[in-house]
């Protein structure tokens, strides 16, 4: 007698698909009908989308939908929401002095966070993402400042710029001593050697540093000072330190003497609101090189 086997499921009137693997057969069970209804429901749902949201392109416009929803107004409302959320802190920032901002942890954190974004949007193209600068564009992390590194001075430079066309901006430029025939080529070479000697850099062997000193005293000292320590009134760099806006090699120094220098910093007052400029001033000041 054959061994008894379990009964067939009585609820299994459906055949198999004919697929069989190792004695395992695939049933051809029909889908539950509600599944089909769910599928139809998704179609109805899609039609709902066409009705309420922008959907179909027309010849010159599109169906705007009954919700009158736009990506643009959606972004605008999100920005407005953000501004509303920020408003109390922005008001505090506007009311506080720069020094108060820097000495209040809550305001400092907010100003630095705001400043970081504003810096990336507006300043980084020239000064670099972290304010590291580039040739001709000052490094804002060091402690050498052309126009002053106190909070108020940084704020002023950002607001009015340098050689920006703003009347209140910083003025003054390095003349083109060579191109305009103010100095002879050998004088330029000699004074370049002298300038290098100011910060202890090696000079060309046999260079007449005494003559260079005289040329410097006659032509350069009026802006750079008798000792070459610079003058922030006219943005004349300190030539005695280890920091060089362009480069410290003789060729680059001679280039500057021959053709002059005069980089431009735009005036941001009017383009950025006061609170953002304050935040930027604090952010730049806290890079590490800020002066008291």
């Amino acid at each position: 007698m054959s061994a008894p086997k379990p009964a067939e499921l009585p609820s299994k009137p459906i055949g198999t698909t004919g697929h069989e693997w190792d004695g395992i057969e695939e049933l051809n069970t029909p889908l539950p009908r509600w599944w089909l209804w769910v599928f139809y429901a998704t179609i109805v749902w899609a039609i709902g989308y066409w009705v309420v949201y922008p959907a179909w392109p027309l010849v010159t416009s599109y169906t705007s939908g009954v919700f009158d929803w736009h990506t643009r107004s959606s972004v605008a409302s999100q920005i407005a929401e953000l501004q509303q959320e920020r408003a109390p802190m922005m008001a505090k920032l506007s009311a506080a002095s720069l020094r108060e901002i820097e000495s209040t942890p809550e305001l400092l954190d907010f100003a630095r966070a705001l400043g970081k974004r504003a810096f990336a949007d507006n300043c980084a193209p020239c000064h670099g993402a972290g304010g590291g600068g580039a040739k001709g564009y000052p490094n804002l992390n060091d402690n050498d400042w052309l126009w002053g590194g106190s909070l108020a001075q940084i704020d002023e430079t950002i607001t009015h710029g340098a050689r920006s066309g703003d009347d209140a901006g910083h003025q003054g430029a390095m003349p083109a001593f060579g191109r305009d025939g103010l100095l002879k080529p050998d004088e330029i070479s000699t004074v370049a050697d002298f300038v290098r000697s100011l910060s202890g850099l090696p000079t060309t062997p046999g260079a007449d540093l005494k003559r260079g000193a005289k040329v410097f005293a006659d032509n350069c000292a009026v802006c750079h000072g008798p000792e070459g320590k610079g003058n922030r009134e006219v943005g004349a760099p300190n030539l005695t330190d280890k920091i060089w806006l362009y480069a410290s090699d003789k060729k680059t120094i001679m280039e500057g003497i021959i053709n002059g220098r005069g980089g431009v910093m735009p005036a941001w007052g009017g383009k950025l609101d006061d609170a953002t400029i304050k935040a930027l001033a604090v952010y730049v000041h806290t890079f590490g090189g800020g002066e008291q």
């Binding site: 007698m1 054959s2 061994a3 008894p4 086997k5 379990p6 009964a7 067939e8 499921l9 009585p10 609820s11 299994k12 459906i14 055949g15 198999t16 004695g23 395992i24 057969e25 695939e26 049933l27 051809n28 069970t29 029909p30 889908l31 539950p32 009908r33 509600w34 599944w35 089909l36 820097e102 000495s103 942890p105 400092l108 954190d109 630095r112 670099g128 993402a129 972290g130 304010g131 590291g132 600068g133 490094n139 992390n141 060091d142 402690n143 050498d144 300190n238 330190d241 280890k242 920091i243 806290t286 890079f287 590490g288 090189g289």
Partner: protein
């Protein structure tokens, strides 16, 4: 979700009956017709869609029913009441035992507080959950499906209400066939009202895990709660009502992936709710069995009373063997035991057993039970290792931590006096519930100055940084080397913070770069 995977595990027949003369003729005819190039008759295609067969599970009493009631009370009790359990953490933290605080990015579980960066504990929990599920499956099949799954628990509760309002199986079946009367409407209305109330309470309990429960209950009642709370209550009311009231076994059969995974994970030694066909077959009524016995013919213990099918919450006939529809709740065991007791035959014709044992009994061998197998040991070992690892890391974690990010641009700064400076962003974590002041120091470089932007306070030349309770703070730190940085240098340095009042020192390594 894939009915195509609905694979029937057909039992291999041990012996084929000898082909009848007629069927041999038919086979011969089919062969010749194929050879003569004639198309065979197309089979009747089964329908693509079929209406759901409504299940009317009958009331049953017994061991497994009792277990299910207890599990139901415990799990629902935990779910509904846990948000109201208080846990005093002091003034700077919520006093709710279990709270997911999304706005403040904190998760509280009794004495444990999890910050977002400790999210890996959730990974550990998920591993534990998966392994526990696999272990349950390796020991006794679908314990999860039958007793613990929310779908099962809520459906069980909803079905009890259905039996209470519309009557047990027979009564309910009859009532459904009759036209709508005031009585039937009242019963049906009561049922749906109760279902909706439970569903609503379920949604309500859900949102309480995300805010201070007593406050939220008050806000909900006075319509002051945030709209998202009402939206989630609405959503969960709908899903509970739809899934437990209407969808029921359809969720298990068509929507849930676990039955498929379970089928792939099981093995021949896992205990499953099994019909012992060695004992039950051939089926015969009590009278017929007596007649058969009198003639010396075999008759099994199954009297084909269909009680096991009638009590099944998913409408499965367990006598067909394991299948995806069976959630292995054991109610058929209770039903069959009651019948066996009544007719004076031994219980457990349906029992937690294995196909291996059924076959062994057929051959007169002793059943074997192998709880200790490679997979059960492996699952248990993984649970133990992950559990111990999590407990260890939770027990030994500290209230303070620090991480460092070196400035990328510029990597270093030359100051006017020629010294070198590197700048870092340090994030200091204070997980304690008190404000903490930390002393910051840096090791690895001689002759360095360390400055913290915004902190003028020093202790023996070391900057002090105060971090609020249960908060983290980001500070900009400047490290300036007066001398001794060779060109191209990349010097490993270590920042360490220690509470001013003493305690655990947290450190983080970074580098100091030279030109």
């Amino acid at each position: 979700m894939c009915p195509g995977c609905d694979i029937a595990i057909a039992m291999l027949e041990t012996a084929q009956p000898a082909p009848h003369a007629l069927s041999a003729l038919a086979e011969e005819a089919a062969r010749t017709s194929l050879m003569s190039g004639q198309e065979p008759e197309p089979e009747n295609e089964p329908p693509l869609y079929a209406a759901r067969r409504k299940v009317y599970p009958q009331h049953v009493a017994g061991t497994y029913r009792r277990v299910k009631w207890i599990v139901l009370c415990v799990t629902l009790g935990i779910y509904y009441l846990l948000p109201f359990v208080r846990w005093d953490r002091g003034p700077n933290a919520p006093s709710q035992a279990v709270l997911i605080d999304f706005p403040n990015r904190r998760f509280y579980f009794f004495f444990i507080e999890i910050w977002p960066q400790e999210f890996y504990y959730l990974t550990g929990l998920l591993i534990l959950a998966a392994m526990a599920l696999f272990l349950m499956n390796a020991i006794a099949g679908r314990l999860w499906c039958g007793y613990l799954c929310p779908q099962t628990v809520w459906t069980d509760l909803f079905q009890a209400i259905e039996r209470w309002t519309e009557g047990d199986r027979r009564e309910h079946l009859q009532r459904d066939r009759q036209p709508w009367t005031v009585d039937r409407l009242a019963r049906s209305g009561t049922k749906h009202f109760l279902w909706l109330m439970i569903a609503w309470w379920t949604g309500g309990a859900w949102v309480l895990y995300f805010a201070d429960a007593p406050t939220l209950v008050k806000d909900l009642a006075t319509l002051q709660a945030p709209p998202v709370a009402y939206a989630f209550i609405g959503l969960l009311t709908f899903t509970t009502y739809a899934l437990a009231g209407w969808m029921r076994e359809q969720v298990c059969v068509y929507m849930c992936p676990w039955p498929r995974i379970q089928a792939a994970l099981t093995d021949e030694y896992a205990l499953n709710v099994t019909y012992r066909y060695d004992r039950g077959e051939p089926r015969a009524s009590v009278k017929k069995a007596a007649a058969l016995h009198a003639e010396g013919l075999p008759a099994g213990d199954c009297i084909d009373c269909q009680q096991c099918v009638h009590v099944c919450p998913t409408g499965v006939d367990i006598r067909g063997g394991s299948n995806v529809g069976c959630i292995q709740c054991g109610l058929c065991i209770d039903a069959c035991d009651a019948v066996m007791k009544k007719i004076g035959r031994p219980a457990r014709l349906i029992a937690y057993d294995t196909d291996v044992n059924v076959k062994r009994r057929q051959q007169g061998e002793k059943p074997i039970y192998r709880i200790v197998r490679a997979r059960t040991m492996l699952y248990a070992a993984i649970i133990a290792v992950v559990g111990i690892l999590m407990a260890y890391t939770l027990a030994t974690r500290h209230n303070d931590a620090v991480s460092a990010l070196h400035d990328r641009n510029p990597l270093f700064v030359r100051l006017s006096d020629g010294s070198l400076r590197n700048a870092y962003t340090l994030r200091i974590l204070n997980k304690s519930l008190e404000p903490m002041t930390f002393v910051l120091s840096v090791d690895g470089l001689p002759n360095v100055d360390i400055d913290v932007i915004g902190s003028g306070n020093l202790l023996n030349g070391h900057p002090l940084i105060t971090v609020g309770p249960d908060q983290s703070r980001e500070v900009r730190v400047l490290v300036t080397a007066r001398e001794g940085v060779p060109p191209g240098a990349s010097i490993p340095i270590v920042f360490s913070i220690v509470p001013k009042t003493g305690g655990h020192t947290a450190t983080v390594g970074d580098h100091f770069f030279g030109p």
